[in-house]
């Protein structure tokens, strides 16, 4: 049975789309048939980060409004054949997202044997964000180690517990996972940033992913490659850990301590 996973945060700019792209790519590269949907109508980004912006002909809203078939709108990812992308509309209004339409698209994707459907939520707590979480079975809550992002994440968790279909039906709860991005162990050590344990305690959630701060994220976004594919980089390793943990592997958290400088730098005070 397909799992619908919303990637959400409340606050903008914390790394939802980066996380959606890398998480979806990671699942696909492990052989899982995965679809990723951009719910940020009017501000579409996911296609850029996955490098498929030139191949988007029809979008999510076209499918909801019946202008195109789902199979026409799905874009096959160039990095992984198991991954398909449904882009957001850049021209339509977010009110074009109707609940029945969203449900129909998700049901159709389930019918096409997708195992994981990732919903990349827009920031805020309005229609787009509410539609992205409405049908979720699980949620990735993305936050930065910073008080306002953590408070918004907390608010979002409350909204999931009130407004998701699962909550309304009173059945099984939406399973929530915590993803901390832009983590700088050095600054956390100095007390300039919340530590990952602080964030986990504030939100009372276990950490699924701890992604270090890195310039590589921006480089990869500009090139249209999900950062999980940047071989050997700490961010790629951290995202790979996250996907492995999600699929049940036991991987200890990495990048929690500041890197110690190479010994020649320590010698010469580099």
């Amino acid at each position: 049975m397909a799992k619908v996973i919303v990637v959400t945060s409340g606050k903008g700019g914390v790394g939802k789309t980066t996380t959606s792209a890398s998480f979806a790519t990671g699942l696909a590269n492990r052989g899982k048939k995965t679809a990723v949907i951009d719910f940020d109508i009017g501000l579409r980004n996911l296609d850029l980060i996955l490098g498929c912006e030139r191949r988007v002909v029809y979008d999510f809203v076209n499918v909801i409004q019946g202008d195109a078939k789902l199979s026409q709108a799905l874009v096959r990812d160039k990095h992984s054949e198991n991954l398909s992308i449904l882009a957001a509309s850049q021209t339509k209004d977010k009110d074009a997202l109707k609940e029945e339409g969203v449900k129909q698209v998700l049901d159709d994707l389930k019918g096409m044997d997708f195992e994981y459907i990732i919903c990349d939520s827009p920031a805020g707590i309005e229609t787009g964000a509410l539609m992205a979480l409405r049908f979720a079975d699980e949620a990735l809550i993305v936050t930065n180690p910073e008080v306002s992002a953590v408070r918004d994440a907390d608010r979002m968790l409350g909204i999931i517990e009130a407004k998701s279909l699962r909550a309304e039906n009173g059945g099984e709860r939406v399973k929530e996972h915590l993803v901390i991005t832009r983590y700088a162990p050095k600054r956390a050590d100095k007390g300039e940033m919340l530590s990952h344990t602080d964030v986990a305690e504030l939100l009372s959630l276990p950490i699924l992913g701890l992604i270090p701060e890195s310039e590589q994220v921006l480089d990869c976004s500009n090139r249209g490659t999900p950062v999980i594919l940047a071989n050997g980089s700490p961010v790629a390793l951290a995202f790979d850990d996250m996907v492995a943990r999600y699929l049940g592997e036991d991987r200890p958290l990495r990048f929690t301590e500041p890197e110690s400088a190479p010994f020649w730098k320590r010698l010469f005070g580099g």
């Binding site: 408070r151 907390d154 909204i159 517990e161 009130a162 009173g170 305690e201 009372s204």
Partner: protein
């Protein structure tokens, strides 16, 4: 108008109030009448609230601060937060219905998130999970919180002065008992070992009521 206000005299005497005239239009001439009626009833007016571009001119001689604010109709309706999945009162209601004792507390076992509000109507509230900043715990009885309490806690919500707030780790923004409230600063919390505290109403020297925060750690077993 005067008669209506006068009939409410016992309620209004000495009350400190802000007069809200946002629903009145510029053409209204009744402002001075309302002001006079309010004053004759003993209301102590602190300020007047008017809508944008409202009836400022008529109020010039009122000698009160005039605050401008959008009219009520322009504001977005407050968002209702539903809480069904996080409470489990079913079992306790059966006990109460059978007349076997006072109503059992409303028990919350999931974290109370920022923006959520839990209300234990006519009974105590027992929280077995953390409460976040921006969350609100409300009870007509007392509040017992096991787990970090960082939001607001308001006990005795319908006036019970004997209600208390007891928390194993109190780091609340605001606590209140029977309408008497107190915001908590870091310095208030610092005196509590591990934050275990009890909050209750007490009389001060002048006979006024105020909220007293007491550490309760002396009763807890100590790690050696």
């Amino acid at each position: 108008m005067t008669a209506v206000v006068a009939s409410a005299r016992p309620l209004l005497a000495e009350a400190l109030a802000v007069l809200d005239l946002r629903e009145r239009t510029v053409d209204d001439t009744g402002a001075s009448e309302i002001l006079a009626a309010a004053r004759s009833a003993g209301v102590r007016l602190a300020a007047i609230l008017v809508g944008e571009g409202g009836m400022r001119a008529n109020l010039a001689d009122a000698d009160l601060p005039i605050l401008e604010s959008p009219s009520i109709g322009d504001r977005p309706a407050p968002e209702a937060v539903e809480l069904e999945p996080m409470t489990e009162p079913r079992q306790t209601e059966n006990v109460a219905a059978a007349g076997l004792g006072p109503p059992a507390p409303l028990c919350v076992t999931q974290p109370v998130r920022s923006g959520q509000r839990v209300y234990a109507q006519g009974r105590d509230l027992l929280v077995l999970a953390p409460t976040s900043r921006g969350a609100e715990l409300l009870a007509d009885g007392s509040i017992y919180a096991f787990g970090l309490l960082r939001g607001r806690a308001l006990a005795g919500a319908s006036g019970d002065r004997g209600a208390r707030i007891v928390a194993t780790r109190l780091d609340a923004e605001l606590v209140a008992v029977a309408g008497v409230y107190r915001t908590l600063e870091a310095s208030d919390i610092a005196g509590l070992r591990d934050g275990a505290a009890s909050v209750a109403l007490a009389l001060d020297e002048e006979g006024g009521e105020r909220l007293v925060l007491r550490p309760v750690d002396q009763f807890l077993p100590r790690a050696s």
